[in-house]
């Protein structure tokens, strides 16, 4: 009788692919931690030097302080949200893929890949947005 080696629903994740994924997970976890650190630095800078920053901007731009503060706070909040979400997705994806491989759990592995998928989707949208901004600045 012929031995059936073909998996039922897909194809196996080979050892070398698992090694690459584990290494990628390690590095992406490191990058995610850097993102969290950057987030912390931005928040500390905002808390400690927010007023100074607004007054310096006001000197240069001569705009109403309240409106300027509002604009700066909105921009900083958007930056914080983007860095935070990207770092979180990268961190989650790395952790779940790593756990999935070590525990041989298909659910954890799939959840990790889904996190990476959302990360790349968001990052892709941002890169298209930055390209459009670049094109706009060119003309």
């Amino acid at each position: 009788m012929e031995q059936q080696n073909e998996p039922l629903f897909g194809f196996p994740v080979e050892t070398s692919t698992q090694r690459s994924l584990l290494s990628a997970a390690g590095w992406s976890r490191f990058l995610a931690i850097l993102g969290f650190v950057a987030l912390g630095i931005i928040l500390i800078a905002l808390i400690l030097g927010g007023n100074t920053m607004i007054s310096q901007f006001q000197n240069v731009l001569t705009v109403d302080t309240t409106a300027l503060a509002g604009i700066i706070i909105v921009i900083v909040l958007i930056v914080i949200a983007v860095i935070g979400v990207l770092s979180f997705l990268l961190f989650r994806g790395a952790n779940l893929v790593k756990k999935g491989i070590y525990a041989n759990s298909q659910d954890l592995f799939n959840a990790g890949l889904a996190s990476y998928r959302t990360f790349f989707l968001l990052y892709g949208i941002l890169s298209v947005f930055s390209l459009l901004l670049n094109i706009y600045q060119l003309f």
């Binding site: 080696n5 994740v13 998928r117 892709g124 390209l131 670049n134």
Partner: protein
């Protein structure tokens, strides 16, 4: 009997099942979009550099030799830094492109070989960015320390 004993290992082996394949295919699609937008971005930054250079040169026409040579030094430094950043960017984009194309074809044809190459490039992509981040941090710390020591 022997076959039956081997079956559970096959069934519970980590696989690229339908969910995993769908996630990887979406990742590769967006990675390819990132590759295209990165390359276009580099082209735009090169065009921007030469546009600003010609603008600056026409602005400086008739100025004395020393001003012209100072600006020329700044422009050369700018050109070198642009070439270095585009080269590094292209390297990262190359890994992303290799990952996107190989992992996609691997998922579609169920080729473990292509998937292996694809994910090796996925690893290289994060590894390169990680190493660059470490270099940037080291330079940042050195800059910060030298700035603090120069302060009265």
């Amino acid at each position: 009997m022997e076959n039956l004993e081997q079956q559970p290992a096959n069934l519970f082996e980590l696989q690229f099942d339908e969910n995993a394949k769908s996630s990887v295919l979406t990742i590769t699609r967006w990675a390819m979009i990132m590759v295209i937008s990165s390359i276009l971005g580099y082209v735009i930054s090169i065009v921007k550099y030469f546009k600003e250079k010609s603008k600056m040169n026409s602005f400086l026409e008739g100025d004395d030799e020393s001003t012209y040579s100072n600006v020329s030094t700044i422009q050369t430094t700018g050109l070198i830094s642009m070439i270095v950043s585009v080269a590094i960017g292209l390297l990262i984009t190359y890994f992303l492109y290799q990952f996107a194309s190989k992992a996609k074809s691997g998922m579609e044809t169920m080729s473990s070989y292509d998937v292996n190459i694809g994910f090796a490039n996925f690893k290289n992509y994060f590894l390169t960015i990680g190493i660059l981040a470490i270099i940037a941090i080291v330079f940042g710390v050195i800059g910060f320390i030298s700035m603090m020591t120069m302060m009265p």
